[in-house]
């Protein structure tokens, strides 16, 4: 190549410093710590409610056998985890939308 044309084509110039911090998009994918605390609160409340329900059902002698009592608690716990998962998904999507709006 002609040296003059090479020099003309060669790019040299000014650029700002490339950002070292992770981009906001990467930040959004991370679960915010606030939501994590809320999840634990929901699981705790639902677990407590399921325990209470189990205890009441036993005291009213609805389910006389212990096995049924344990099963009832387990079902309530599973339901609480499902409810917490739905709650978390909703919260995370809300948080992402909010952060996108801010960005």
């Amino acid at each position: 190549m002609n040296p003059l044309r090479y020099l003309e084509k060669r790019i040299r110039g000014w650029l700002p410093k490339e950002p070292q911090t992770p981009s906001p998009q990467l930040e959004i994918t991370r679960k915010p710590p606030k939501t994590r605390t809320q999840v634990w609160i929901v699981i705790f409340i639902m677990g407590f409610a399921s325990g209470l329900l189990g205890a009441y059902s036993a005291s009213f002698d609805i389910f006389s056998r212990l096995g049924i009592y344990v099963w009832l608690i387990l079902i309530c716990l599973v339901l609480s985890i499902v409810a917490a998962a739905i709650y978390v998904r909703k919260k995370v999507s809300e948080e992402r939308q909010r952060m996108r709006r801010e960005v």
Partner: protein, 133 residues
Amino acid sequence: MASIAGKLRTTRQFVNQTKLAAEAKLSTTLLEVAQANDLQVTRLYPEQAILLGYHPALKRKAIITYSTRHGIKVWYWHNNPEEVTNQEFLRQTREYLLDLAKERGIEVEGAADMHPAKLASIIFSKLVPRVKS
């Protein structure tokens, strides 16, 4: 100056004083940014809102610019800007430069397809002839 004073229904003296005050504030800000970025100040152009400097540790020339829309930015001279591959960063840089050129009434042919480093070089050299493209 007279037309601005007419539009604002004020005196030319007031407009001139406001302009001087704005330039003084801008100069202070540019010098503070230069200090924060460890730059040696080579020259200050308050009217163009540009500061030319040098970074002794990086051994690179630097420019500080101010745009009303995007604020302050520090630029460093690159001998091989094609090494920078972050497309989002390059897009934002081009956007900043196009806005800066629009603000200052500078027209650059083929600016949309130009590498931002080259675009910056052309715009800065038009703003300050001392900066050669």
